[in-house]
């Protein structure tokens, strides 16, 4: 039987089945967005549709539009939540035009395909550079020799930067500021089976969300690492990396770029890590100090912030409209809709409970 819905939905489902298998929803902080989203799902879909329409009216070249979108993992995260958002509107009988919903999904998938060169839902890998871009990186960067001590220092840098991003953007929008790209296979001159892994941390200073970050000295860090005899897999989100092999023993080359300037010395990298670790603990304290109402508002602001440049180019304010705040004010979380305490769900259960079947129906109408 011919399927009436696009192929990408099955690809998405395969990736998400694996993603959920490896996740424990109980660990997600600071609150569970699956339980917050139903309060404003219809508004979010309508706002995205408005932005896409405005962009199309402006007749901006598509490749220019792609440039203002965040990294591929962030787009995947937005799609991953947009599907339950749509499912919520169906369950709650909200008046949302299916044609408009399809237009939103089609647009985001087109952007994702333009950003990700293959495996768009990162079932195994997160390939976001062309071969020539990788060659350019390899040839233009000044590489330093790796060693176990430096590998551990890079691990500490990852700990500090990723946790700071997590505190600034919460568990649900972390990807806006963190992506891990690769594995990019390299020539044998580096060893038997060398790969390049790029860890990218941007938005370490989202002043619009957290004014205290004005004092942070660093905004963007990129860590380039070449490993030999290390296998890397990515599961949907760039930061969901699973490595096989000893990263410390097998770091062949490295380079660390901080706001455009390269750092190589161990003591400089360790100093930066210590500073980020301290900032991340302080940031988490700020999050903990928010009361429930402030926390809900912050989460909506973070959801909008991910698409700040896109909304701006469409001529819209990236601050959430008051209608969103009205929807969540003094409202409890909607517990019970999603089976978030159930571990080891089957693919069929995920398709049913997380809106994938409803999405298939949307395209079959």
């Amino acid at each position: 039987m011919t399927k009436k819905y696009p192929k990408w939905i099955d690809e998405y489902a395969n990736s998400v089945h694996r993603l959920f298998k490896n996740m424990d929803f109980r660990t997600l902080q600071p609150l569970n967005c699956f339980q917050l989203h139903p309060l404003y799902s219809d508004l979010w879909i309508r706002f995205l549709f408005l932005a896409i329409r405005r962009l199309k009216e402006k007749k901006l070249a598509f490749n220019k539009a792609v440039e203002v979108f965040p990294n591929p993992t962030s787009i995947r995260a937005i799609i991953k939540f947009l599907i339950p958002h749509y499912y919520n509107t169906v369950l709650d009988h909200k008046d949302v035009d299916p044609k408009k919903v399809r237009e939103v999904f089609n647009f985001l998938i087109k952007v994702l395909k333009a950003k990700n060169h293959r495996d768009i839902f990162a079932y195994q890998e997160n390939i976001c550079h062309t071969k020539s871009e990788i060659l350019n990186i390899i040839n233009k960067i000044e590489w330093y020799e790796g060693n176990p001590m430096m590998a551990r220092a890079l691990g500490q840098l990852y700990l500090g930067a990723s946790t700071l991003i997590n505190g600034l953007m919460n568990d649900w929008c972390t990807d806006c500021g963190l992506d891990v790209w690769g594995p990019y296979k390299l020539s044998k001159k580096y060893g038997h089976s060398p790969i390049l892994v790029i860890r990218d941390f941007n938005y370490l200073q989202p002043v619009e969300l957290w004014s205290a970050t004005r004092g942070h000295r660093v905004n963007h860090i990129t860590v380039y690492a070449i490993y030999n005899n290390v296998e890397m897999k990515v599961g949907y989100f760039g930061c969901h990396t699973i490595f096989k092999g000893d990263l410390a023993k097998n770091l062949i080359k490295y380079a660390v770029k901080v706001d455009g300037k390269f750092l190589y010395k161990l003591d400089e990298i360790e100093k930066l890590s210590r500073s980020l670790i301290k900032l991340s603990a302080q940031q988490y304290q700020r999050v903990r100090n928010l009361n429930f109402e402030a926390l809900k508002r912050k989460i909506i602001q973070q959801e909008f912030f991910q698409l700040k440049s896109f909304f701006q180019i469409a001529g819209l304010d990236y601050h959430p409209p008051s209608s969103f705040y009205k929807r969540i004010k003094n409202k409890k979380l909607m517990k019970g809709r999603y089976p978030l305490d159930t571990q080891a769900m089957s693919g069929k259960q995920i398709d049913k409970h997380f809106g994938i079947n409803t999405l298939r129906d949307l395209y079959s109408k």
Binding site: L19, N22, R26, G155, Y158, L159, T163, S280, Q283
Partner: protein, 107 residues
């Protein structure tokens, strides 16, 4: 020897060390370099401790939870989803943590 605890081994390697049970948000807990960080689930308030931990053991979590990802990057063993690490293990216990097999044994 029978393991004290079993869970999901998410970052390989084997180390021995002293257990420190850490509760979320606790300010300046006693924690020495190489201690085994045992907690319900790590959060960013524990990051300074994670940076010095010999291994991490959590009650809950999956292959791609925060402690799992970070431990792989740090190259230290990690076990999650033990269900009861914070109940079974006690401060000061000397244990061996096997992140490959997902087992904690008393020394």
């Amino acid at each position: 020897m029978k393991p004290l605890l079993k869970g999901l081994g998410v970052s390989p390697g084997q180390v021995q060390g002293k257990v420190r049970i850490i509760k979320s948000g606790k300010k300046n807990p006693q924690f020495n370099s190489g201690n085994i960080l045992v907690t319900h689930i790590t959060d960013p308030s524990m990051v300074p401790l994670m940076a010095r931990a010999g291994a991490i053991v959590c009650d809950i979590g999956g292959m791609t939870s925060h402690p799992s990802i970070v431990s792989r990057e740090l190259g230290i063993p990690c076990i999650v989803n033990t269900k009861k690490a914070t109940q079974v293990l006690k401060n000061g216990m000397q244990v061996s943590v096997d992140g490959t097999k997902g087992m904690v044994k008393m020394l």
